[in-house]
Symmetry: C2
C-alpha cells in the first residue's frame, strides 16, 4: 500500500515540478498567463490543478496512515509558488513511515457526503477508486493545460521516473 | 495486483465509454468532429487517446499474467467504434483469471528499448510506474479533449465508479 501510494505520488509530483519549470521558461517567450490557464471556462486553472494534485496525494497518504489531513490555504500565485507547494508535499510524502501502512488496506477511509450519505471505502478501495484517479486527473490536466498553451513537453517529461529503470542489456 | 490492475482499468473504461456517449449526444448539436479533436497540433486525437487507454489496460493485464499481448489494428473511425473497442477491452480484462496473478508482483515485465537498452521492471514497478500513469494519461486527456470541445461532463462522469460505494449513514 505504501509503494502504490507514496511511490506513485512522489515521482509524478517531481515530474510535474520539472514540467512547471519548462512552463516558466516557455512563458518568458510566449507571455502566456499559464498559472490561470484552463481548458474550458468552467474548468479549474493550472494553479488549482496543481493544488488539487498535491492535496489528493497528501490526503491519501494521511488517511491511509489513519491520520486526519489538515487543510491548505492555496495562496499560490506563480509557477514558483506552485513548485514550492509540490516540494512541501513531496517532503511530507517521503517522510511517511513504512510501519504506519501496516493496516492501511483494511483501514476505514470512508468519505462523508451531504444528506446523511457516506462513501464507504476501506484503504485499498480508497486508494484505487478515489485517490489515484483524482490525483492522475489533476496531474494530467495540468500537463494538458501546458501542452495546449505551447509548452514543449512530451511523454518523457510526464514519465521522467522511467529513466531510473533503464539499463543496458546484459 | 489483480485488483490494482483490473479493478482500476475496468471502471475507468466504463466511465470513458459513458463519457463518449455524452460526446456523441453533444456533437449532434455542436457539429464538432470529436473523434479527430486534439489539444495541440502535435498531440494525439481523441480516437488515439481511447485506443491507447485500451491498449495500456490490455497490455498491462496480459503482461502481469505472463502472456504476450497481441497488437490491435486501430481501425476505429467513430465514437460508436471507440465504444466497441472499449467494450472488447473490458470483456478481456474481466475474464483475467485470479490465479494468473499469483506471481505478478515479481514477474519480469521489462520493456526493450532501441540501442541495446531495456526498461527493467518487475510486475509491481511496471503497474505502478508504467501501466497506470500511461493509462490515466490517455483516459484523462480524452476527457479533457471532450471538455475542451463543449461536452458537458464533470467529475461524477469521470468517477462514476464511486456511486457503487455510496451508502446511507447507519
Amino acid at each position: 500500500m505504501r509503494t502504490m501510494a507514496v511511490d506513485s505520488f512522489v515521482p509524478m509530483l517531481e515530474s510535474l515540478s520539472a514540467i512547471l519549470d519548462k512552463g516558466a521558461a516557455s512563458a518568458k517567450t510566449t507571455k502566456l498567463d499559464l498559472v490561470n490557464a484552463r481548458l474550458a471556462p468552467d474548468m479549474f486553472t493550472l494553479a488549482q490543478q496543481v493544488q488539487l494534485a498535491c492535496d489528493h496525494a497528501k490526503n491519501a497518504v494521511s488517511r491511509l496512515m489513519g491520520r486526519e489531513p489538515w487543510p491548505e490555504d492555496n495562496h499560490e500565485k506563480s509557477l514558483e509558488d506552485l513548485r514550492d507547494r509540490i516540494a512541501k508535499t513531496v517532503e511530507y510524502l517521503k517522510a511517511a513511515e513504512v510501519a504506519a501502512f501496516n493496516d492501511a488496506e483494511d483501514r476505514d477511509c470512508s468519505i462523508p457526503l451531504p444528506n446523511n450519505k457516506v462513501i464507504t471505502m476501506n484503504g485499498l478501495q480508497f486508494l484505487r477508486a478515489w485517490a489515484l484517479p483524482h490525483f492522475y486527473f489533476h496531474v494530467v490536466t495540468a500537463y494538458d493545460i501546458l501542452r495546449h498553451n505551447q509548452v514543449v513537453i512530451g511523454k518523457q517529461d510526464y514519465l521522467s521516473q522511467v529513466g531510473d529503470f533503464v539499463r543496458f542489456r546484459q
